[in-house]
Symmetry: C2
Amino acid sequence: MYNIDNIDPKKIYDLIIIGTGPSGLGCAIYAARFALDILIIGNLYGGLITTTHIVENYPGIPSISGPELMEKFRDHINSLDIPYIIDEIRTVKKENNIFELKSFFNSFKAKTICFAMGSNHKKLEIPGEEEFGGRGVSYCATCDGPFYKNKIVAVIGGSDSAAKEALYLTQHAKKVIIIYRKDEIRAEPINKQRVLENDKIEIIYNTNIKEIKGNEKVSSLVLDNNNEIKLDAVFIEIGVLPNSNLAKIIGVQTNEKGEIIINKKSETNIPGVFAVGDVADSQFKQAITGVSEGVIAAYSAFDYLKKKKIIY
Amino acid sequence: MYNIDNIDPKKIYDLIIIGTGPSGLGCAIYAARFALDILIIGNLYGGLITTTHIVENYPGIPSISGPELMEKFRDHINSLDIPYIIDEIRTVKKENNIFELKSFFNSFKAKTICFAMGSNHKKLEIPGEEEFGGRGVSYCATCDGPFYKNKIVAVIGGSDSAAKEALYLTQHAKKVIIIYRKDEIRAEPINKQRVLENDKIEIIYNTNIKEIKGNEKVSSLVLDNNNEIKLDAVFIEIGVLPNSNLAKIIGVQTNEKGEIIINKKSETNIPGVFAVGDVADSQFKQAITGVSEGVIAAYSAFDYLKKKKIIY
């Protein structure tokens, strides 16, 4: 990692990429190959995929853990000597076609920017959720699953991510209860089948939870039918919120979900501003599709700079 | 590989993918995860990328040869037990929303199809080109470069592919002459720089070639200024032609380059027909972007079948 002391605040980069997940790093790899002067800024190295236990759907790599996949990306970044720093951009403005990004202590300038900040886990917003955070309430089975060996845990949600979290948790817990508000889980068929066939998993359909109870730590859940389930932990996996607030500051268009609207070239409505990965409005969000959007954004940034005769 | 004898000609597949390059296999990997009943049909396992000496731009895999990358894809395909056969589809028709694909000896039926047939090398169409094919005229440096150890060879073209072919050839030949019709090569900057800095490479700009001469094998090139260059081999790298003729039979729309027009969902103008990779009209064609298009096509096919209540 590059030290912040090596960053010249007066320098105007060709491209600054905000986000260190697969799509941001995919963008960086190609931008470096295009010989653009780039900087990557992010606050969680590797992005949300590093919380994934097993990735079997990055074509070309049959099976790998999320952290290992991102180590491979880091090797790739390092092989191209690409600078990146850990920092959190708080605001952005555009002046004379130059973008200025500011964190608490630093300021960075660039001719083009790429938003690759991904998304964060949605919260249930019920009593007990915040109180027991880190004490039985978790948004990451891979991170916290091993603490619940032979315990009873719940997964809230019925998406593919929820199914995968539940499957992973069966490796530790003695029982995993999926609680889902609809009448059928909507995981990828391969994962759905694995869930339905797994003896350790029980599914409660058409049900919401009202409250998370406990003392020192989580001890039970109250359902909306007022039934109470005793357990040791609850993993909340009810979707994500795109981290698009920063982009909105300079007028980048978003859809009703808050996702940044991009075209086939990863362009937003503002020239010189690109968006890729989970923060963007692509319907089908996968590591591989985000990486491809990043790659295309690098090409589009290169093309934009060339057409404006800023490079070459 | 599945034997053709195991294929039931009466079976109607959910999805047939035509093409075995990265984009077709990316599509297959996801389609299998969606539990679709699929078949891959192709005539060159791994696609054109298998003729690439070194791939350093598949994010997550810093450096690998084309054939090795496609071995990884094959492992991925095999881990999901996906059937594929080597055959060449000659014609296609649509009847009652079922597509029927025919090769010389076989016939296959599917509810959806994905065109992933990539592209083929363009030819110069000058005297001597066909005559000396395989005897000094080549379209694949990786395949034929090693035959020209300490010889003089030419690369015709100035694209990124041409630059990479030239760089690869310097590992074998004593001299590599790039002949290009424009006044500047248009390779990725990283490769352009490598070419310009390589002592073994000479570039002749603003020049076409008129004829390839030889006896048993290639002995010289005649340029359009009538100069004649003595050499041992000529590698032609002047672009590609998309293999879209099959798609055109059922009215799939193509652009002026013959590429199949797709939207962000990898959909063509015909419902149930998808196209991905080099045969499609994406501006920036890379292995990673083709794979992503394939992945998205699998999702779109799944979505199409679900909405038509053909599956689930």
